[in-house]
């Protein structure tokens, strides 16, 4: 079975002084139809730039480097002409962001913002689009959808706005939904509602999802696969259960040890020493080396992704030692 989305050796670069820095530096992954891949990492690791690159939304002077490849169901997205690309954006791949207020247009009624997507991608009468919009609002759990079509974004709560964003994303009937920190700006009880909704939609619509988050807790119940990112690279990938049972890269282990939990003993958290270095200060060799508790003799050479178990890979020389 071929994957819906196939990303190979994706590199994004920005000018920095005389040279260029690579905040995304050789990222490869696949997403199967109807499955969720969670891309997990801390701020500055390159996870959001990765998702923007998939739709060629990297703001200049940034660019996607030659040799990168992004394929959606056989179509090479990086070589598409502008109008062919527009037919993919919002239609086959849709995106929702952390802060719905900045992605909704404050001066248009939400009904118009939903039907705009339909008119852009499908031949549809005004009446049909309106009816579709009502159904979509219903599907994302907005009460009185008829009424709400006439509302402006500022008249809705944060949770309702994110639901509207999701409705807009669904309007193109996408095969892949990219959700970039979709619940980070929301309260926990609202977060639970939205995550529930996204998961429900993915199942009922057989839609694949790329879930970008810094929160391992969100990943636990929602993703099929997890890819952990650090300093522009994937450093560990595995099926969710496998990753949570056997986190193997020292960085992933550090992340787990530093997450405060509701269960287990209360005590000192075990943080990772130091901070994430910026892209112009990445060390040679293994990029986690300066913070790593394990001083591996080979760490001055950059490790490739190595097999750490069934469907489980990590960028750490420990994998060679059978650990």
């Amino acid at each position: 079975m071929t994957a819906l989305l196939d990303v190979r050796d994706l590199r994004v670069s920005f000018p920095d002084g005389a040279g260029r820095i690579h905040p995304v530096d050789g990222v490869s992954f696949t997403i199967e139809r109807g499955k969720t891949l969670a891309l997990v990492g801390e701020s500055g690791c390159g996870k959001s730039l990765t998702s923007l690159a998939l739709l060629r939304l990297i703001p200049p002077p940034g660019r996607i480097d030659d040799g990168s490849s992004v394929t959606l169901d056989g179509t090479d997205l990086l070589s598409l002409k502008p109008d062919a690309l527009r037919a993919v954006r919002g239609r086959r791949i849709a995106m929702i962001f952390q802060d719905p207020m900045t992605s909704l247009n404050p001066v248009f009624r939400i009904g118009d913002q939903i039907t705009e997507v339909m008119h852009a991608h499908f031949k549809m009468s005004k009446q049909d689009a309106r009816e579709q919009a009502v159904l979509l609002l219903q599907e994302v759990g907005i009460p009185d959808p008829d009424e709400r079509l006439r509302a402006y974004p500022h008249q809705l709560s944060g949770g309702m706005r994110q639901r509207v964003m999701i409705a807009i994303a669904l309007a193109g009937q996408p095969e892949l939904l990219i959700a970039d920190e979709p619940t980070t700006a929301l309260d926990v009880t609202v977060q639970a509602q939205i995550l529930e909704l996204l998961d429900h939609l993915r199942r009922t619509r057989d839609m694949a999802m790329l879930l970008i988050t810094h929160d391992l807790g969100i990943v636990a119940g929602r993703a099929d696969h997890v890819a952990v990112m650090y300093a522009g690279q994937l450093i560990e990938t595995a099926p969710t259960r496998e990753l949570f049972d056997r986190p193997s890269h020292p960085y992933t282990q550090g992340l787990f040890a530093s997450v405060p939990r509701l269960s287990g003993p209360v005590g000192r958290l075990m943080p990772i020493a130091g901070t994430v270095p910026p892209p112009n200060a990445w060390p040679a060799g293994c990029r986690f080396r300066p913070r790593c508790p394990i001083k591996h003799p080979k760490s001055e050479t950059m490790p490739p992704m190595l097999r750490a178990g069934p469907e489980h890979e990590m960028r750490c020389w420990l994998a060679e030692d059978g650990k």
Partner: protein, 338 residues
């Protein structure tokens, strides 16, 4: 008028903070009842966490206690002083003993001031050390919060979020407070850094005997640092008690819902959460009776919840403001405390 040694360091009684919203064209609008009758105490060396979702009034409580904004009514006693009656000179002294650290340290640091100047400012204003001594103190403070003393000559923008929060903490400690309001101090930080800052706050408490009012929305974070927890909903405390009791045997349905919504990094954990229906009602027009009744899922909820305001009363390990707190709404929703 000094405090007895066994008296709590902070006593808040029936604190009310309403914000008038009526502008020129919006007369007769009901005020936002951000804080609506909140009482609690913080002991010496203790951490009380104030937990709730945005708009519940938790930050307003913190700011009103410090007199960063005037209260509508109520009283606050701190180290034996009636905070709301203090005049200028004693208020200045109070400001030295009570400090606050914010969620976003960057917006509370002056970008044109070096880190050293920012930390030294309080020491100079309160004349806590002679001029020559100030730099030595600043170095010691930076070291205490885990920063290189050489950073004193740098500017805030040169630092990461975690480092800026450490600077904010050093700045608060500079005036030798006994009590610090921590307003979402780790919410903006990455997990690995968040853990560093939580550990630092714990160490400082131990070393300096500090008391904290720890304002946060994340129960998993709060559990790592709080001795007691108060849960707020629409301007009121709905449940308060020792951390372990509140997390392992929550008695207010809202506490249960909050606990259930915390995403646990464990795929084997049960995923059937309590998902609250609807949105938070407007704090200008809170529901009658129990303010949670519009979203409550307790099997016994009835007309009494609509008509009668429930008071905080002792249940098992905690005090909860629910008419039916003796019956657990949804059995099994607890944090498994060892």
């Amino acid at each position: 008028m000094s405090a007895r040694p066994d008296e709590p360091i902070l006593m808040v009684h029936d604190l009310v903070k309403h914000y008038e919203t009526g502008g020129l064209f919006k007369r007769n609008r009901p005020p936002v009842r951000a804080v609506d009758g909140v009482s609690f105490e913080v002991g010496r060396g203790e951490t009380l966490a104030l937990v709730g979702e945005s708009g519940c009034g938790k930050s307003s409580v913190g700011r009103t206690i410090l007199r960063l904004q005037p209260p509508t009514s109520g009283s606050v006693r701190f180290e034996g002083h009636d905070v709301f009656r203090l005049e200028r000179e004693s208020l200045r002294l109070l400001r030295r003993r009570m400090q606050i650290i914010f969620q976003d340290p960057y917006s509370s640091l002056n970008p044109r001031m070096t880190v050293g100047e920012a930390v030294a400012e309080g020491i100079r204003i309160h004349r806590l050390a002679p001029g020559a001594e100030v730099n030595r103190r600043v170095s010691a403070l930076l070291e205490e919060v885990g920063l290189d003393p050489g950073y004193a000559r740098r500017y805030p923008h040169e630092f990461s979020g975690g480092q800026r929060q450490r600077i904010g903490i050093a700045r608060a400690l500079a005036v030798e407070p006994s009590f610090i309001v921590c307003d979402e101090p780790v919410s903006a930080l990455d997990v690995s850094v968040q853990a560093q800052v939580i550990n630092l706050l714990r160490d400082l408490q131990e070393r300096r005997g500090l008391s904290y009012l720890f304002i946060a929305h994340d129960l998993a974070v709060v559990r790592q640092i709080a001795h007691r927890i108060a849960v707020m909903y629409l301007g009121q405390i709905v449940e308060i008690g020792p951390s372990e009791a509140l997390l392992s045997d929550p008695r207010h349905p809202y506490t249960q819902a909050l606990l259930s919504a915390v995403p646990e990094p464990d795929p084997a954990a049960p995923q059937d959460r309590i998902v609250l229906g609807g949105d938070l009602p407007s704090p200008s027009r809170p529901p009658s009776g129990c303010r949670f009744h519009t979203r409550c899922f307790h099997p016994l909820r009835d007309q009494r919840c609509v008509d009668e305001v429930p008071l905080l009363r002792p249940i098992t390990g905690t005090r909860a403001a629910c008419h039916y707190a003796e019956t657990v709404a949804v059995p099994g929703v607890t944090a498994p405390v060892e």
